[in-house]
């Protein structure tokens, strides 16, 4: 029997390095077409050894596609990749790994039922007697790899028992442990706290000193300016500009990314004093405790907190996804007694969850089916769904929200993140809610779509409705909220009015 054999040793590749003068990676003129979209047109990027090259652009700009071509996940249509002076052509991620390119993926790819060590060394397990896994050796190596990021976990621990931040750190440790010449980091800090980001930045500096080239993809421009030597901007699959980070600034990059001046937060609503939602001493054991607030008609209430503060948990309890252990919720003057989300929905509440792929959308279904699924009952005749009626409301909603798609029959999985989010939004708007709860509504979507969602929020509450906006993006919360409820470790740290709220004031409460 033959086994697929991994890279059995953690090879050091200093010896294979070209002279310092050259590029470690030279990517020229890459084009890639997917059915219906030109994902990349003539994109180039050069990485010098011992430097960090940042790649920025809106979602859908083609960053991840370019990286997937680099590691041999997708095949390119045109273009040439030169690694350490040699033209390469990868068909499989394994070839890229063997040649010295490792990647931290944007979407966490842990295998939950395997241990940390097994995840770290998947595909290149240390062996004894040639055939068997050397578990003690592997666990020791895992300890070392994690120590690089000041991560002290038991290598035997199953991956699924870790927090999201810990999983991301393990992924990072894994990519680093290949001792690759090129490390691609695709949104490596999306789940990390400040201290962990510091550890990551420290390791990146060590890698630079070792001569590793790093491609750093991030939406967080602060990080780009902190760590990157050069930056390349992509927009709609085109190469827009490459330059040393010293020659540009935040506003300059944003202008290149969106090709126009960045818009602020379109906030036009004025809150009334009529209560819409009154929450008193709401508690759910182990998640959050004694949360009280009143949301007025026409108001956007921001809920801010760092990871683990209990924002999502609060929204889930309000929407009856989970049940509060004590406290009361009064909605539109009536005590809310919903026990299931379907009942909350009938009470004209809506919740747009944090993870649209896992809990929002039915990916293999069409835009039309996804939008209409919650309100099919309103378009039936004698028990049969009226395709005409559904088609009409979906078309008009798609127009209102400016969903960009080929047709309402297009499958949702082929839309960009921003358009997917609009589909989820459209579904809930069709239920005609008077309270909309949004959990990280703009996570991972591009700046253009963000602005549209912000504009929509203002219009929505102006009709005497209310929004609870939970977000860990401070500018968004500050920009859109009339008041901000700050949570910290499951408790209410305070409520700030729009006038009181500043980045500092909110962070003071949150940390």
């Amino acid at each position: 029997m033959t086994f697929p054999v991994g890279r059995s040793d953690v090879a050091t590749s200093e010896a294979a390095m070209p002279p310092q003068s050259g590029l470690i990676l030279d990517v020229q003129g890459i084009s890639k077409r997917f059915p219906g979209v030109q994902a990349l047109s003539d994109v180039s990027i050069q990485v010098r050894p011992g430097t960090v090259h940042a790649l920025v652009g809106e979602n859908g700009a083609g960053k991840s596609t370019l990286m997937k071509i680099l590691i041999g996940w997708h095949r390119r249509d045109r273009g040439e990749i030169t690694l350490k002076g040699q033209v390469v052509d990868f068909h499989e991620p394994k070839q890229a790994l063997d040649a010295g390119i490792s990647i931290i993926q944007q979407e966490l790819s842990a295998i939950g039922d395997m241990s940390i060590a097994e995840n770290l060394f998947l595909g290149r397990e240390p062996r004894r007697a040639g055939a068997f896994i050397d578990y003690p050796g592997m666990n020791a190596l895992a300890k070392d790899a994690m120590a690089e990021l000041e991560l002290d976990l038991d290598p035997w621990q199953k991956m699924k028992t870790l927090s999201v931040a810990q999983m991301q750190l393990v992924e990072i440790a894994k990519a680093i442990s290949y001792e690759a010449d090129i490390i691609i980091m695709d949104e490596p800090t999306s789940a990390l706290g400040d201290r962990e980001i510091e550890h990551l930045m420290a390791s990146i500096r060590k890698l630079k000193a070792r001569g590793t080239g790093i491609i750093y993809i991030s939406h967080k421009l602060e990080e780009v300016f902190e760590i990157a030597d050069e930056v390349t901007v992509l927009r709609d699959g085109h190469h827009i500009a490459s330059m040393p980070t010293g020659e540009t600034d935040r506003d300059g990059l944003i202008r290149l990314m969106i090709g126009r001046e960045a818009k602020g937060f379109p906030k036009t609503n004025t809150p009334t004093t009529q209560p819409l939602l009154e929450v008193e001493q709401l508690t759910r054991e182990g998640e959050f405790r004694d949360v009280s607030f009143t949301l007025h008609k026409g108001e956007i209430l921001g809920v801010f907190g760092l990871m683990g503060a209990g924002k999502s948990e609060l929204l889930n309890a309000l929407f009856s996804v989970t049940r509060a252990t004590s406290g009361s919720v009064t909605f539109q003057g009536k005590r809310l007694r919903a026990r299931y989300p379907s009942q909350a929905m009938r009470n004209n509440m809506a919740l747009i969850t944090e993870d649209r792929k896992a809990t929002g959308l039915i990916l293999p279904m069409s835009v039309r089916d996804n939008m209409a699924i919650s309100t099919l009952g309103r378009h039936t005749r004698f028990g049969f769904v009226s395709a005409l009626g559904v088609g009409r409301v979906v078309s008009s909603m798609s127009r209102d929200l400016d969903v960009r798609m080929a047709s309402p029959r297009q499958l949702v999985k082929f839309l960009s993140g921003g358009n997917q989010q609009k589909v989820v939004l459209g579904r809930w708007l069709l239920t005609k809610p008077s309270l909309l709860m949004l959990d990280e509504p703009t996570r991972g979507i591009d700046i253009g779509a963000k602005a549209e969602i912000y504009r929509f929020m203002s219009e929505f509450v102006d009709q005497g409705k209310g929004i609870v906006l939970a977000s860990s993006e401070l500018p968004e919360v500050l920009g859109m909220s009339d008041r901000i409820l700050v949570m910290k470790a499951g408790r209410m740290a305070g409520i700030l009015s729009r006038e009181q709220a500043s980045e500092e004031a909110v962070m003071q409460l949150a940390v």
Partner: protein, 318 residues
Amino acid sequence: MKQARSLRIRIFLVENGIILAFILLVVALTFSSEFFLTGPNIRNVLRQASINGLLAIGMTFVILTAGIDLSVGSVLAFGGMIAAIFASSSLGEQYPLYVALPMGLAAGAMLGMVNGSLVAFFRVPPFVVTLGMLSIARGLTLISSDGMPVSRLSPEYIYVGQGMVAGIPVPVLIFFGVLGLAWLLLYQTPFGRYVYAVGGNEEAARISGVNTRMVKFTVYAISGCLAALGGIILSARTTAGLPQAGVAYELDAIAAVVIGGTSLAGGQGRLFGTLIGVLIIAVVNNGLDLLGVSAYYQLTFKGAIIVAAVLLDSMRQR
């Protein structure tokens, strides 16, 4: 210290509820039938369990990769038939065991490889591929034997199904030998980890440099090969290659894996659980026989056990 131990015991019980259920079953049957816990009966139960056990081991590999193999019953018949044809003196030359046995195994492995290539390289859903193979392999069995039983097998061949070594039936020895090898493969070699990885997160496994297609291909080949081994044992025990052998055997094999706590979604499960699942099915069949329950009730009862086991598991997950 004492608290920590009682907690550990509780965790053990929750994790191993199925073992507890098995023990309770054995105790209950011991009290309700005087024959149950006797040497000959235990031997009998294990012998009956061994064929389903071989199928279930292969099935565990396949299900761990989030696949399914519905063809094992038919592949069992085909492998057994091919081996029997070589071991029989009624159809031309009679070959020795060391020819007949590898021929049968190779026949099963080949059909498994066909399954594996279609699943791994052509991305046809495993359910469809192996459903097709269920029919194809049965057809091939009928073609190769002309629809007739193949008997007059060599004594050494029959020994594989009926022989005893130190009071232990040969099929039982084979089953536990294969179980040991499977354990080594699954838990001590990289390949075994890749089986879990492919079922747990195929994309992540591939990005980590795992040859995911090869892993999928191999598990179906293993399943086919073990099904053929089961078929050889069955033909040896019944002293004939039977064209209708193994009909609906895939159901018991899948049931054993599922009762043992392996998730049909892949990536999660244990070989030890499969062993317990196999024993539970064998003990239930045997126990109901001993208690004189009619075959009709036996089927109903077995189905209820499968559903109950999965129910227990899904309640634990929550």
